[in-house]
Symmetry: C2
Subunit: 339 residues, 2 copies
């Protein structure tokens, strides 16, 4: 069987089972720093200290982009690529409610890569690190016929990291900001249709310079939110993953999903679909009981309740219209190896 038949998630499931059966998916025997979150969440985590008042958990995540697969030079200049690959990692730490610390950067590069391009790539990473308080502590440079960038980021959490698996029946669901704008920007960059320039500038910026919700993740965690993740593959797809991990189902009120007015202006007929299924957003999706949810909505400008967690087939996500009727035929998946 070839990888394309099994798909990315099928492969990950199979490898995870192999690791678990071999006993290498959990803490090594006698480990002084026990693993508390293994494969399957936004970041791995292990406990590094457990003194009174000084509980600390190390978080570790990794994200890789490959030339021609995750980006093309036409829609993503090197400078933006550096920013975006760092954002993808920062967003995983934000999704756990953690504080980012140190990154290792691996570059795979053809020999004829212009050095000036590599410097632009690093410039983008540097700007992102400065803005979000991370540092680059090491890495690796290797020759490769195809360019790729792989970043690993470590961070820390002094309490209980947010998990995909912690959503409960009765929890409300919310997101930290507008959805779909990054996807709108990507379509503009590919197709160059005529739209008024205010919308074009906003949407392209949303695609090329997405913002990880690091401060928001910490606010959520401090408010007591236990279930969260970042939206990188699209709201419905990622919500489905969260519900699978939690063994729950979800309902989304489509009319409550925050859509930016400029996305609506540029794509009046498709804005909602982009908000439900567009990827590379890096807003946070979270679930919490009503009293906790109220606190988070009060503290995070732009955060909005979009639905609720219900009993049902694990991973099932229903999308409702204003009258509570199901909207049929919405995409919910994206698999790099199958699509």
């Amino acid at each position: 069987m070839e990888l394309r038949e099994l798909g990315e998630f099928g492969l990950i499931q199979r490898l995870t089972r192999m690791l678990a059966e071999a006993g290498v998916a959990t803490s090594p025997k006698g480990a002084s720093f026990p693993l508390v979150i293994g494969i399957g969440d936004d970041a791995a985590a292990w406990r590094i200290a457990a003194w009174r008042m000084n509980d600390a958990i190390e978080l570790s995540t990794t994200d890789t982009v490959v030339d021609g697969v995750h980006f093309t030079r036409e829609t993503t200049p090197w400078h933006d690529l550096g920013w975006k690959v760092m954002v993808a990692n920062l967003s995983d730490i934000a999704a756990m409610g953690g504080v980012p610390l140190y990154a290792l950067v691996t570059l795979g590069l053809p020999e004829d890569t212009p050095v000036a391009d590599i410097e632009l790539l690093y410039q983008g990473m540097i700007e992102c690190c400065r803005e979000y308080g991370a540092a680059i502590a090491g890495g690796d440079v290797v020759r490769s016929p195809v360019a790729f960038v792989s970043v690993t980021l470590n961070g820390v959490h002094h309490g209980q990291p947010m998990l995909r698996s912690a959503a409960k029946v009765g929890d409300l669901l919310a997101v930290t900001g507008f959805l779909g704008s990054s996807r709108g920007g990507l379509e503009l960059l590919i197709r160059h249709p005529t739209v008024d320039s205010e919308a074009a500038i906003y949407l392209c910026q949303a695609h090329r310079r997405p913002r990880p919700r690091v401060a928001e993740g910490r606010i959520l965690s401090e408010a007591g939110v236990l279930a969260g993740m970042d939206i990188s593959d699209g709201l419905l797809d990622d919500l489905g993953k969260m519900m699978v991990a939690s063994g729950m189902a979800a309902q989304v009120d489509s009319w409550r999903v925050p859509v930016h007015p400029l996305l609506l202006r540029a794509f009046p007929d498709r804005a909602l679909r982009m908000a439900l299924a567009g990827g590379e957003e890096y807003e946070l999706l979270y679930a919490a009981p009503a009293p906790v949810m109220e606190m988070t909505i009060a503290r995070i400008p732009g955060a909005a309740v979009i639905g609720r967690v219900v009993a049902g087939a694990p991973g099932q996500v229903g999308v409702l219209d204003h009258d509570g009727r199901h909207l049929p035929g919405l995409d919910a998946g994206w698999d790099h190896f199958r699509s």
Copy 2:
């Protein structure tokens, strides 16, 4: 300018300077976990606890292999590749004297990769993790036209990690075991010359299943060794890097470099050169004053003194024969982008 003109080490120097000038190569402001080792050593390290009796430093390293650049399917089956990429990372933690903990594994794979091959790759990683007490805690799978495997490994050290920059004038230099065998094995795998089978089995095993010196690294660190690294690019090349980092020069007594009798039997004329310049060894190279050195030689079977640290042009490495005369014309470098 293209990357091939600048070379790997030129690029790393330039990027390191960029990061330092931008202030993102050191601890972020107010970081509770200060960076203690940044770019330039075998692993990065930051302090995670500093209570009496509980000093702890987190180590983090990464290593990547690319199909057709670092391995070919003829000399490295998937199973061995999994073992070797994990060894490269374990060896970096060993080189600091640390205890390996948790790995993140990123696979870049073409869609037509047989799933059975990926399972063999993982099987090799699993065997290595079990043997050396590490666990796989997460990772990423991405589509890529060229296969690559990138591993990040975190570990911990409860004292002072060994550094490349800590060698002092008067220190003796030593290695933890036989050198050159991996290179001998590679040549056999490529050329298939007729050698007696005992030597062939030993040398091919040395190339395909190298062993990271994790226990030895801890013994060195506990004995008080402060200067060390692993030999991955060949003794002379790596010793040169250590001397550059320490601002010192070195003399190697060629006749003291440990060469396995079976390497000598298979390559009588070239064994010494292989021991001096062959890569992918993963023995540790370290420097220490004589009293500390004596303890390490007593505690590590196979460890051998090979020379000394002297004052001189930083990075200069002289190779001496039995009568103290310099041996000329020995290779000292390997650059993936230039060679």
